[in-house]
Every structure is written in C-alpha cells, then in structure tokens.
Amino acid sequence: MTGEECKGMSDRQGGHLVWNLLNPPPGVRTEGVEAGLDARKACIEERSVVGNYVSTAEVRLTTQTGPNRRLNATVGGGFRNLVKVTSMVAAVTAAGQAAEAYLHPHGLVMLYLLVVVVAAACWGRWPAVVASGMGVVGLNFFFVPPRYTLRVHQPEYFLTFGVMLGVGLLISELTARRQAQFELARRSQAEMAAAYAFSRALAQAGDLGAIEEALNHHLRLLLQPPAHLLVGARVPEDCALAVPLASSRGPLGWVCLQERPSSPDSLHAVESAAAQAAMAVERVQLGEEARHAQLVAEAERLQTTMLNAVSHDLQTPISSIQGALDNLCDPELDLDHETTQGLVQLAREQTRRLSRLVANLLDMSRVEAGVTPLRLEPVEIADLLGSALQAWGDERRFDITLEPDLPMVRGDLVLLVQVLVNLLENAAKYGAAGDSVELQASRANGGVELRVVDHGPGIPPDRRRRAFEKFYRLRRPGDPPGTGLGLAICQGFVQAHGGTIRAEETPGGGTTMVIWLPSEEEA
C-alpha cells in the first residue's frame, strides 16, 4: 500500500468514522484486525504529526472492514472517477462540435475549464489534472486547425493551451488545499474529542484499575498494544517499552508496553497519554493516602476511647474491692456487724462485676478475631427464652408473649442465651424500677423476631445506632455502671448467626431491642 492510498482512505469520511469510534454505535466492533497490521503500520509512517492521532484511528477502522476490500474499493473508485471525467470531456467535445458554427475554440476553453472545476470539486486533485490534460488534447485534436491532428499552426494556440493547463492545475491545487484544510480541522476536532474523552475517563477513574482501563481504551484508539500500569520505583523488566509516570512528587511508576510503538509519532502520543495517566495516578494516590490517614486517626481515636473505658471499668471495681478490704482490715476502725456485712457484700458485688467485665472483654475479642466457633444446632425459641431466664436468675417479673408454632432457628444456644441475658440485664438496669420486662417472640420475614421491651428512659433516636458501638455509653447522670460492651457483643453474636439486631422506641417510652434470626430452613 502506498501513502497515496492511505490518504484516499482517510479522505473518505474519516471524521465521521472517528466520531463513530469514540461513541461506537451498537454492533460496531472496535477491536483491531490482525490482517491489517502491516498496512496500517505503513500508513502510520506516512502520517504527518498533526494527522497521527486521529488518522491512525481511521486507518484502524479501515482494517476493520478488511484491508483488501477497501483497497479494491479505492482503486475501483479512482477508475470510476476517471470514466466520469472522460465522459464529461467527451460530452463537452460533442457539444462543441454540434455548436461549432456559433462557438470559437477560445469559447470552448471555458467549457473545458468548467469540467476541470467540477472534477476538482467532486473528486479532488488527480481527476482535475486528468481533466485539464484531456481538455487540452481534446481542444487541440477536434477544434484547433489543422483539425483531427495534434499539430498546431497558429502559435497563439500554444498560449491558449498553456493558460488552460495552468488554470486547470491551479484550480485542482486550490481545491486540494481546501480539502486538506478541511481535513485538518476535522482531525483536530476529532483529536480534541478523543483527548477530552480520555481525560474525562481519567477524571472519573477512582482507582488504578480504572486508570489502566482508560489508558488501554485510549491506546487502542492510537492503535497501540495494550499497556500495564506499574506503580512503584522499580523499573519493570519484561516490557518492550516503559514510559515513566512523572509527577510533581517524582516518578510514580511506569506504563509498560508489550510492543514498541511503530513510529516516533505514536511514541510521542503514548508519552502524552502516560503524562495524563500520571496525573490521574497521583490524584488517586493522594486520595488513598488521605483516606488512609483518616482511617489511622479514627483507629487511634477508637483505641484511646477503648483504653480509657477499659481502664475506668477495670479500676473502679478493683478500687472498690481494695477499699472494702482495707476497711475490713483497718485496726483503727470499730465496725459494727451491719457495716462489715455491707463491705463484704460490696466486695462480692464488685468481684462479680469485674468477672463479668473480663468475660465481656474476652467475648469481644473473640467476636473481633472472628474465632468464636459456632456450635450450630436447631434451637427452639421457647427453650431459648427459658434458658436465658434461668441463666440470668433475676427475681424480676417477666411478661412473655410467644406466638404459637414458631419455627426453630439454627444457632449456637450458648451464644444466643448470652445475647438474651445481656439484653435482659440492660432492660432491668435501664427500665423503670419495679417494672416488668417484656419478652416477645413472633414470626417475621422468614425467621423469628425476638423483642426485649423496657419502659425506661429509652435511647435518643440519634444514638440508637451508636449504642451498638464498642464502649459507647450514654453516660447519663444516675445511670448504673456498665462497660459499653454488652450491645456490641450482642451485635457480633447475632450477626455471626446471619441475623440482625436494632433498637426501637417502645410505644409510650422506653427501649425495645429487636433481634431477627433466620429460621432453620432459611439459615
């Protein structure tokens, strides 16, 4: 294939095809065809710098329909144009002969020039050049005496022929230039559109994968082989060409191409694509760093809260126990029986509190490490409620509402009992004194819903979600002591069962904790 044929191809509605390529209509393949490789490489080499970007895309598109068919079509088109030009010249000649009586050969020159203008306008430079030549020959042969020879007796006709040929060539040249300018404008428009599409894709890319995808899409348009984005300082080894990702913070990595670009121009295009990709990579990295810093700060804040809470919750019962024992051992104190019993009772209570806290902390770390092995078995709801009440052992009154024929749930009875005990404890602690605690179980959404209802002060709506966070406590004056771990542990255990837990407001005031567990068939 020659440069001329390439041009012919790109002359044919190149801009339109490029637009289609950027926004391919359904069904249009945008993958390259191997058979066209040699042809398109040849074409790329013929390209000017300006034309490189888009023209390669056009050539690529021509390979899509098959290079040979396209080649034939181009040659055939040239032939057809030649036939058309010839017949137009013949028609002018015939008309000239018919109107011979009224027309001087100098007048016919105008008609022949008209053919040249039409040919130039419709089919470009070479048909116009052919038309000029044929016009000169036709005029000479048919009209200039001696007629039907190519000899010329009157020297003034040489001037006529010269001017006619010159004007014809000038017209064809001007037309060709106009077309070239038009082509240039169309190309730069398409080039801008491609660059815009690329930068938009990069701007939207939220991670390195998306950047790589945008880059590869763009490289496909440039007829380049696909590339890898390699982030890091190490120079990649198995690349035909590695273009650095340069940034204000130094090199970020490399664009690794599997094959070398076919020309300096396409190398240039790859480099500018890499520069754009580098900016996107830098933006993504800065974003990631900011997110990471935020996460670290958040984790540190949580850790501080946790340490403070644990140290407060551990030190308080220990202080109380030590204080009570110090009092009991103090020889200077003259304690009566009641006070002594009170101190012993205090030490016992605080010891229980301490051991519950330690158990909670251990459970919490099990939940967090995800190592609590679930011993799953079919669990009957009535059995679960009964075991929970027994395990808690408080003398408080319970109102239990149990829907008949509840399905069984699949779960670890020990953990589920613990969840319920925690919730019952909360209900008793925060509920109104002397009030009964309500326990309800019903069917819901292919599972069972358990409700623990109290009529205490309730949780403000904006804190209901936070109530399940580790160490989160409302800390209202007069609230009984607690660790802020109970609900977090409940949530961990319930979620391990594939269930959910949430806090609702009890109608008329108070908190209702709602646990949903999938039924045995669903689980």
Binding site: S311, Q315, S320, G323, D330, G342, R475, P477
Partner: protein, 229 residues
C-alpha cells in the same frame, strides 16, 4: 472531736462512695456525698466542706471544670481520684487548682495520709516562716540561701527559684507548667526541657542520693512534689 472536718466525696460509682464513707467516717470525718459535678458544686456552696475528694470521670462535667468553678469562690483543698492513663485529665485539673491526686486503685492508708496532709496545709495557710527546714536542709527564702548543716550550698538563681516554688507548695503536686510559670515566668510554660535540666542539677546539689531523691519527687507524666519533711 466536737467539730469534725467535713469531707465531700464526689464519685458517680456508688461502690466507691460506700467504702470511702465507711473509712472516712470511721476516722472521724463527717462525710458528704455527691454523684455528679452539679450536685458537688451545689453541696460545696451549701455545706462549705473542709476538703473535696473528687473523681475526675464524672458523667456530667469534666473534673477540671468542677475545680475551675469551685476555685472561683473557694480555696477548699481538692484531692482528685483518677485512673492510670488519664494523665492529661489530672494535669488539667491540677492546673485548674486541684491540690493533689490519687490513682485508682489506691490504698485507704494512702488516701487518709493525703487527706490529713491537705487539711494541714489548708490550716497553716499561705506564707509562713521565711526560713524552712527540709530534712537536714535549711532554706532561707528571704536571703536566697540554702544550707546543709552549716555549709552553704551554691545554687544558681534559677535553681533557687525552683526550690522556692516547691517549698512554698510543700506536699502538693505541681504540674510542669505551674512550676515553670511561677519560677521562670508565664512565657516559659512549655519549656519542660529547661525544667528537667534544672531539676536534675538541683537534685545533684541537695539530694543525698540523686538517683533516689527524697526531697524532689517525680510524679510521672504530671509534675513534681516536694517531700521529706
């Protein structure tokens, strides 16, 4: 005792209040109780206690806020209770005017000793003798001279200022900032390095064994206290 000293115990934990009540009342104090900061302030205003034992972690007010508000109209000694790790809370409360602190869990013997010391300091009032005896040291605050037995110790003016501040608040915990501001000036409040260097030099001159000081005691993470009476 016909008119026993009254101690206000402020803690949101009932168990802590309970054993403090048993212990303090058993040792001859009259005990008042409060479970929140607001309650404590109201009680202090009404009952005018002789000493306040204040837990730093209250549900409604920060410990230093209670001290700040209390200090607007009262010089009552404040002994704080806090947990290990809450050094920043202690420092803020001491800077706000608290007198001393104890870290939970603490022995009741220690608590009673601190209570007695605080009450004694409050009773003796500020000022006092220009010449103080500290172990075998004789410190002449008016003449800016320090003697061990009859031999004078050569202190730099800064070292003497540092010693003077500690002596004037003997037994009390002073934060780094309080010492720096009183010995060097308000603009030196954060020059803790300066403080450490001078404390180290001063210890070499006045302590029998600078590694195991008996006069200038370090309160880790908080400040210093003068001991050894």
């Amino acid at each position: 005792m016909s008119n026993p000293p009254r101690v206000l115990v402020v803690d949101d934990e009932a168990s802590i209040r309970k054993f403090l009540r048993v212990s303090l009342s058993g040792h001859g104090y009259r005990v008042l109780e409060a479970s929140t900061g607001e309650e404590a302030l109201a009680c202090a205003r009404q009952e005018r206690p002789d000493l306040v034992v204040l837990d730093v972690g209250l549900p409604d007010l920060e410990g230093f806020e209670v001290v700040e508000q209390l200090r607007r109209w009262s010089a009552v000694p404040v002994l704080m209770l806090s947990v290990r790790g809450a050094e920043q809370d202690k420092i803020r409360a001491l800077d706000a005017g608290a007198d001393d602190y104890l870290t939970k869990p603490f022995g009741l013997g220690e608590l009673l000793a601190r209570v007695r010391a605080a009450l004694r300091r409050a009773a003796s009032g500020p000022g006092g003798e220009p010449v103080r005896q500290l172990g075998d040291l004789r410190i002449d605050l008016a003449a800016h001279r320090v003697f061990r037995e009859d031999r004078e110790l050569a202190l730099t003016p800064r070292e003497f200022d540092l010693l003077r501040v500690l002596v004037q608040h003997a037994g009390r915990v002073l934060t780094h900032r309080q010492i720096l501001e009183q010995a060097w000036g308000p603009e030196y409040g954060h020059e803790t390095h300066l403080l450490r260097v001078n404390v180290s030099n001063l210890r070499r001159k006045i302590e029998p064994d600078p590694v195991r000081p008996i006069f200038i005691l370090t309160e880790p993470g908080v400040g210093y206290r003068l001991g050894g009476r």
